[in-house]
Symmetry: C2
Subunit: 523 residues, 2 copies
């Protein structure tokens, strides 16, 4: 392990008449062979003499690598090398997660999440951008909210672990470009407006104090490649080893925006598009975020609907994974056709409501407010438009590199959405390509994982610079037949069913089961 910070126990010789080097020089000389010229901040210099002399030269130094040289982060009496921790952070626009990592063992000691305090100033990123636009005091509010969130999480970690995390020498933080701008007190407006040039994409290492954090050490912020290709994605690319892989890997972070990276050790191609809030349950009329009362699993057998509800409460609505399941089951059971049309003759649960068809996926006795929950024809269309965009992004990226899905060694799905979704359902509706199950990996919070990866291996810093240099950027908006392709991908699983042999097989199995059940009922 080569963590971003290192601790060493030193026994410095005391000055003599023959060797009256300064304490500063004595320390620098002791570290030079292993660490080269070490930077000593004034605050540490001020602690050197009393500590050095009273401890009879027996000291533990904590050093942090800042990408160019080592910097002295702490001085302690005696041998304290057993205490060596660092922090990894995913700074999301909705929630922020922080891990305390033992840098001696590489294990995660504690993990805490909370809502980003910026949500009080604007529920989504765009609202916050406009809140801060040309308004330095609003921008400062947003910056402070991010800082407060991080400080609060550090407090929670300290409580949970008994480790004073403010003494950590290294924090690695990954966030999207807008979140990084706000944490740095930079206006996010240019990220919204063509030509989308960031103010700063490579903030690098900053002191905790500079950022306003209650942290003695340095903070590394993952760089951004472009406005929609932020540090969270670069971090995910590091977590999934794409840039070191001999085989082609695909990385897809599906959320409100879809960010996609394809590549291997030889090249990287990235693209991003508005996947749409439909995937997170934001547009669907009874959609909701994953949380208590959200339906996360749906199984349909004929008229029988089996729901799995988060928190084992009564159902309140559908979260993203519930929608994908519901759509897949409607299709497999023949209640919805390949165009996404509900077939009223196929189920008694199909009703007319508000001037359109809808599928009643929960009865009154199963729901929190006692009213049945409906999934509307227009909801289906919303979602299929979204999944078509996501699929076509992947398709075009592969086309751009002259590859097909067969060439893909691994398909990484990042984000909370990918973590809870049933892979077979995502394949069924044509959101994911029809890949063997073992090729699909849900990597969850890969932004956090990449932060931890770097925290534990500073050599990855060089890789990050390579990723930025190597990464080409695909402009989906500029592709002429993108919309045509998207309309073929609106079908379930796809207008070209030969791309989905597995789905066709599953559908045949269901039809056979249905036929057998009908036979049994008639028999």
């Amino acid at each position: 392990m080569k963590p971003l910070s290192e601790k060493r126990y030193l026994v410095l010789d005391m000055p003599t008449e023959e060797d009256a080097r300064s304490d500063q020089r004595r320390l620098l000389d002791a570290l030079a062979a292993e660490f080269g010229p070490v930077e000593i901040p004034l605050a540490q210099l001020q602690r050197l003499y009393p500590l050095c002399r009273t401890a009879e030269g027996k000291l533990t130094v904590t050093l942090i690598w800042n990408g160019e040289r080592w910097r002295l982060a702490d001085l302690e009496r005696g041998d304290t090398t057993a205490w060596h921790y660092g922090l990894a952070v995913d700074l999301g626009s909705t929630s922020v997660t922080m891990e305390l990592v033992d840098l001696n063992s590489g294990t995660v000691v504690a993990k805490e999440s909370m809502y980003n305090r910026q949500t009080a100033l604007g529920s989504d990123v765009l609202t916050r951008i406009f809140y801060a636009k040309d308004n330095p005091s609003h921008l400062e509010e947003l910056r402070q909210a991010a800082v407060d969130t991080l400080n609060e999480l550090m407090g929670h970690l300290t409580e949970a672990s008994g480790v004073d995390v403010s003494r950590c020498a290294a924090m690695v933080l990954a966030g999207n470009t807008v979140m990084t701008h706000f944490l740095l007190g930079l206006d996010g407006f240019p990220l919204f407006l063509s030509p989308y040039a960031p103010v700063a994409a490579e903030p690098g290492f900053l002191t905790g104090a500079e950022l306003g954090l209650e942290l003695a050490g340095l903070v590394y912020l993952y760089p951004s490649r472009a406005n929609y290709m932020g540090g969270d994605i670069i971090s995910g690319v590091v977590a999934t080893d794409i840039a070191r892989s001999p085989e082609i890997r695909l990385f897809f972070d599906i959320g409100t925006n879809g960010e996609l990276v394809a590549g291997c050790q030889d090249f990287l191609l990235a693209g991003a598009g508005a996947a749409g809030p439909a995937l997170e349950g934001g547009v669907i009329r009874t959609g909701m975020c994953a949380g208590p009362g959200a339906v996360e699993r749906v199984d349909i057998r004929g008229e029988q609907v089996t729901l799995q509800v988060i928190g084992e409460e009564k159902a309140r609505g559908l979260c993203g994974s519930g929608i994908v399941d519901l759509l897949a089951e409607l299709f497999l059971e023949g209640i919805m056709d390949f165009r996404g049309k509900l077939l009223p003759e196929a189920s008694q649960r199909i009703v007319e409501a508000e001037g359109e068809l809808a599928y009643r996926y929960a009865d009154g006795e199963e729901t929190a407010d006692g009213k049945p929950l409906l999934f509307y024809q227009s909801d289906i269309e919303q979602f299929l438009a979204t999944k078509a965009a996501a699929y076509t992004m992947v398709e075009y990226m592969l086309k751009a590199i002259g590859m097909t899905f067969d060439d893909v060694e691994k398909f990484y799905v990042a984000g909370a959405f990918g973590t809870y979704i049933r892979t077979s359902s995502a394949v069924t509706i044509g959101l994911y390509p029809d890949l063997p199950e073992e090729k699909v990996a849900c990597v969850g919070n890969s932004s956090l994982e990449g932060a931890r990866t770097l925290l534990l291996d500073r050599d990855r810093l060089g890789e990050i610079n390579e990723i930025l240099e190597k990464m080409d950027y695909i402009q989906y908006g500029a592709i002429p037949d993108f919309v045509d392709s998207m309309s073929a991908a609106r079908a379930v699983p796809h207008l070209d069913t030969s791309r989905y042999p597995s789905v066709m097989g599953w559908k045949r199995e269901r039809e056979a089961r249905q036929a057998a059940e009908r036979d049994a009922a008639q028999g």
Copy 2:
């Protein structure tokens, strides 16, 4: 000129869809060819976007060299390259002097001095060391007093020049090792106690903010070579070009301590000793610091004494240059012999007072309090012991490098004492060697001058490192026959009169004049 800070007017292209680089990258790329990778502090990054876009990319950057790379110190709208200033400081234990330097022309725009506010906490360095010893809050008081002094001087310079000096990007400060320690908030006690190892001898570049200064830029502190060989002396060596000279040069800073450097481009030897406060008028009974009422020039012709008093006031006492003049005149006029004994028969001004002989150098009507001023036999002895120490230090240093006074190309005398002293008088009493007048140069505040030299020429930074590496240190205390040599040097000008042919000539001239006058009187 290659000053420590540079300003450049830039016209940055605005982002386009083809070139959506960040503002940070755009600025870095514009500077890379001339300045390499420039460090941009967060505070400047935060100003970049609004300024960059509203100024349509027309910006002036101020960069400061930190010894390793350039750092962005300021961003301004439009072309402000005409405004380019820096600060040079001599941080003395008694008084502090600061200059405002125009870095476009190299001229000094304004200069201010004031007492070091630390004097309120301890009149001399030793008192302050003991005041701060093991007492962090006293140390903090001393640090704050130094900082207050510097901030106040900046305020004075701003008033005097109309230039807002807090916007300067570069300050160079030279001070002795103790003064530097206190400014950094470092305990000075180890400098007092064997083995005299400093806490930090190479503080290098620090931010104004870190030091507590009202200064946007960086501060370079001249390094120390040893406890008694501080940044003020290294600065003086730079000012006098000793380390770049093909010929041997001697540098002598005479004050409470005498610091001596001899060398050329090939080697440097340094030594220091307690020259004694006698040189600054501190021990002599009617001695005083140079200031209103101090006698700074003395001429004696027979019974006629002509005084020059600072501020053209009535005499209150003798300052250092007055003492040297008085002693030289007493010797040349034959009123004091080569052993420093007053000869009562030689002048009616010799009186007995307080049990010893004394010379009445001012009558009642010439003095502030109406009482005559006396220079005592014991004062003479005090002073001769001091001058003997100083001379012998120089002698031994030359001996150590196998040279004689004839090999010396230039003898630099630094310090306020050297500035006001009459060179011929200093030679007469044997304080200076008997060198031709053109070989002796009084360089005044060479500490300040070296600070300005570096401010205007950053290439001298490399020279400073060479000086530290090259400089050997002579331990006068360890020389066995030092005291013997000193007793020969107690004579006026020296027991070995062959070393002072000029003085012997001047003495003969005086004796001839006296004889002629006697003849005329008798005639």
